[in-house]
C-alpha cells in the first residue's frame, strides 16, 4: 500500500465549445482549486501539467505554460502525456514527488481545446504508425472500437439497444445537476434510439463529443494538511498499469492483437487489471465503493466498466443497470457527474475532472446530484497505447 496524499482543493472550467485558448480554461480551474484549498499561487511548489497535443508547443509543455500564466514563481514543473490517461499520470507523478518528500504541495492541471468531429491521427504519411494506418487501411475510427465492444456485449450477454440508450438517459439526467457539464438536456430512450447510427449498433447520442474544458486539483502531504487543520479527502491509490503480454483485447489504436498461440493470456483483462491494481494499493475492494466515475466514451462502454471495476460479474452489467443500481439513488451510482455523455471529452482534463467529482461527492458538496453518505469512490479510464488509469479516493 502506498501512503495517502491529501486533496486540498479542486476546480474546473465548465466543458463546452468556447472557442478560446486552452490556457484561459486552465487558469480558471487553477484559481478555483487554489481558492478551494485556501492557498495562494506562490504557496505551490510544483505545477504538474497534463499535456495537450492539439494546441501547439504551449500544450506540449503544459506544466511550464501554466507556471508562466500564473506568474513565474520559480516553482518546479512536470508535464505528463498518456493520451486520455494524461490527467491521472500527472496526478500520480505529483503524488510520487510528495511521497518521496520532494515537495509538500502541488497544483495539477489539465486543459484542452478540441476540434469538432472524429479525433484524427497526426498528419503526414505515417506508414509505421498504427494510429495512422488504422484510418488509411480500413477507416477504423474511435467509434468503430466502441461499436465492436457494444456488438460483442449484444452477442455474448444479450445486451440490447435499449440498454445502451438507457445508459445515456441515466447520465443525461445526472448531468442536469452539474453546472460544469456541457449538456444539460434530458433524453428519452426513444429519442436516443431515433438518433442516427454512427457505428452500428451505436448512435450519435450514445457516442461522446469532443469538448473544451479544464480541471485542476491541489494535492499535498497528509502532514501539510494536518498542520493546516484540514481533514482532507485522501487519494488512496493511483493505478497507471500497462497491459501484460499477450494483450488479446482489441484496443485503440491497434488493428491487431498479440498472439495467444504460445503464451496463454492473463485470465484478467487489461481493463480489469487497471482497477485491480488500484484496489490492491488502496486496500479496498469494489464492495467499499459508494460511486464510480468511468470513461463512457460510448454508452455501451460504461457497461463494460461495471464489470472491469468489479461492480458485478462479467455479463451482469445489464442487470445492474436495469435494476437501477448505478443510477443516483441506487446502490453504487456510476457517473453521478453525468460522465462523458454530458461533458464530451477534453482529453488532458478528463481524468482530473473525474477526481474533482469524487472530491465533491465525498465532501458532500455535490448539490442536487449528491450521493448520501459517500465514503469512497473509484475512477477508471484508459489512454491510447496501453495507458491504464484509475484513482481511488476516500473520506
Amino acid at each position: 500500500m502506498a501512503k495517502d496524499v491529501a486533496i486540498l482543493g479542486v476546480g474546473m472550467h465548465p466543458w463546452g465549445k468556447w472557442g478560446k485558448n486552452f490556457v484561459e480554461y486552465g487558469l480558471k480551474a487553477c484559481n478555483d482549486a487554489l481558492g478551494d484549498a485556501g492557498l495562494d499561487w506562490q504557496d505551490i511548489e510544483v505545477v504538474a501539467g497534463a499535456e495537450t497535443v492539439r494546441n501547439g508547443y504551449a500544450g506540449y509543455v503544459a506544466g511550464a505554460t501554466f507556471a508562466e500564466a500564473l506568474g513565474w514563481s520559480g516553482a518546479r514543473v512536470l508535464t505528463s502525456y498518456a493520451a486520455c490517461a494524461s490527467g491521472s499520470q500527472a496526478i500520480n507523478n505529483a503524488r510520487a514527488m510528495i511521497l518521496a518528500d520532494m515537495a509538500d504541495v502541488i497544483l495539477v492541471v489539465g486543459a484542452d481545446t478540441t476540434p469538432k468531429g472524429f479525433l484524427a491521427p497526426n498528419a503526414g504519411e505515417r506508414w509505421a504508425d498504427p494510429d495512422w494506418l488504422r484510418f488509411r487501411l480500413m477507416g477504423c475510427t474511435n467509434p468503430t472500437y466502441f461499436a465492436l465492444y457494444a456488438r460483442r456485449r449484444m452477442d455474448l450477454y444479450g445486451a440490447t439497444e435499449e440498454d445502451f440508450a438507457a445508459v445515456k438517459v441515466k447520465n443525461a439526467r445526472h448531468g442536469m445537476a452539474n453546472p460544469n457539464a456541457r449538456y444539460h438536456k434530458e433524453f428519452t430512450q426513444e429519442q436516443v434510439l431515433e438518433s442516427p447510427l454512427v457505428a452500428d449498433p451505436l448512435r450519435l447520442l450514445e457516442i461522446c463529443a469532443t469538448s473544451d474544458g479544464a480541471a485542476a486539483v491541489v494535492i499535498s502531504s497528509m502532514d501539510y494538511a494536518r498542520k493546516r487543520n484540514i481533514d482532507p479527502i485522501r487519494i488512496r491509490a493511483v493505478s497507471t498499469v500497462t497491459p501484460t503480454y499477450p494483450m488479446t483485447s482489441v484496443e485503440m489504436p491497434y488493428f491487431s492483437t498479440d498472439s495467444a498461440a504460445v503464451v496463454a493470456p492473463n485470465e484478467m483483462s487489461f481493463k480489469a487489471s487497471i482497477a485491480q491494481a488500484a484496489y490492491e494499493e488502496a486496500g479496498l475492494g469494489p464492495e467499499d465503493m459508494s460511486m464510480a466515475e468511468v470513461y463512457d466514451l460510448s454508452s455501451a462502454l460504461e457497461l463494460d466498466w461495471y464489470e472491469n471495476i468489479g461492480l458485478c460479474p462479467e455479463g451482469d452489467a445489464e442487470k445492474l443497470l436495469r435494476d437501477g443500481e448505478t443510477t443516483l439513488g441506487g446502490r453504487v451510482p456510476v457517473n453521478p457527474s453525468g460522465g462523458l455523455a454530458c461533458f464530451g471529452e477534453a482529453v488532458p482534463a478528463q481524468a482530473i475532472a473525474q477526481v474533482c467529482e469524487l472530491t465533491w461527492q465525498l465532501r458532500g458538496q455535490a448539490g442536487d446530484r449528491q450521493i448520501a453518505g459517500a465514503q469512497a469512490g473509484i475512477t477508471a479510464n484508459i489512454g491510447l497505447f496501453g495507458h491504464g488509469s484509475s484513482v481511488i479516493c476516500s473520506t
Binding site: 468531429g117 472524429f118 484524427a120 491521427p121 498528419a123 504519411e125 505515417r126 506508414w127 498504427p130 495512422w132 494506418l133 488504422r134 484510418f135 488509411r136 487501411l137 480500413m138 477507416g139 477504423c140 475510427t141 467509434p143 468503430t144 461499436a147 465492436l148 465492444y149 457494444a150 456488438r151 460483442r152 452477442d155 455474448l156 442516427p196 447510427l197 454512427v198 457505428a199 452500428d200 449498433p201 451505436l202 503480454y245 499477450p246 488479446t248 482489441v250 488493428f255 491487431s256 492483437t257 498479440d258 498472439s259 495467444a260 498461440a261 504460445v262 503464451v263
Partner: protein, 144 residues
C-alpha cells in the same frame, strides 16, 4: 477496355491470387506470431530473440465482433467522390490466436454476420488514386 493498374496499399503485407493470406512474422526464439510484421525484437517479455521468419498466416478465423460505419472518417482514409458506408470485422485467426481487424468484403452487411462466424481473407480494392486501384485485405464470410 483497359484495366486500371493494381497496387497493394502496403507492399508485403498480404499475398494475392485465389487464396490470399496475410503475411506476418514468427519469432525464432519463442514461436509467437506478429501482424503487422515484427522484425526487430520479440514483444514476449520472456523472450530475448531478435530473429524472425516471415510466415503466411492462416487465412481463416472466427468473428470476435463487427460493426458498420455510417459516417465518413477523417483523413488519411481515402473516401473517393462519394462516401460509402462500410462494414468492419474483428476476426480471430485459428492457429495464431490473434484478432485482426479489416473491412468486410463488398456486398456483405452486418445482418450477414454473427460473433463466432467463420471468415476468410480476400483482397479487394480499397480506393483509387491517380488512376491506380489500391487493394487491401478484407474479411469475407466463408462459404459453408
Amino acid at each position: 477496355m483497359s484495366q486500371s493498374p493494381i497496387q497493394p496499399t502496403v507492399a508485403g503485407w498480404f499475398t494475392d491470387g485465389d487464396e490470399p493470406k496475410l503475411i506476418g512474422t514468427q519469432c525464432r526464439g519463442c514461436g509467437t506470431y506478429f501482424f503487422p510484421k515484427q522484425e526487430l525484437f520479440c514483444r514476449n517479455p520472456s523472450c530475448t530473440s531478435t530473429d524472425f521468419d516471415e510466415v503466411e498466416l492462416s487465412r481463416t478465423g472466427r468473428i470476435w465482433s463487427y460493426t458498420k460505419h455510417y459516417y465518413a472518417p477523417p483523413e488519411p482514409y481515402i473516401t473517393g467522390d462519394e462516401f460509402e458506408p462500410y462494414t468492419i470485422a474483428a476476426v480471430e485467426l485459428e492457429t495464431e490466436k490473434m484478432v485482426i481487424l479489416g473491412q468486410v468484403a463488398n456486398g456483405f452487411e452486418p445482418e450477414d454476420l454473427h460473433t463466432g462466424q467463420e471468415m476468410e481473407v480476400v483482397v479487394e480494392k480499397l480506393y483509387e488514386q491517380d488512376g491506380t486501384d489500391y487493394t487491401v485485405w478484407k474479411w469475407k464470410p466463408r462459404a459453408s
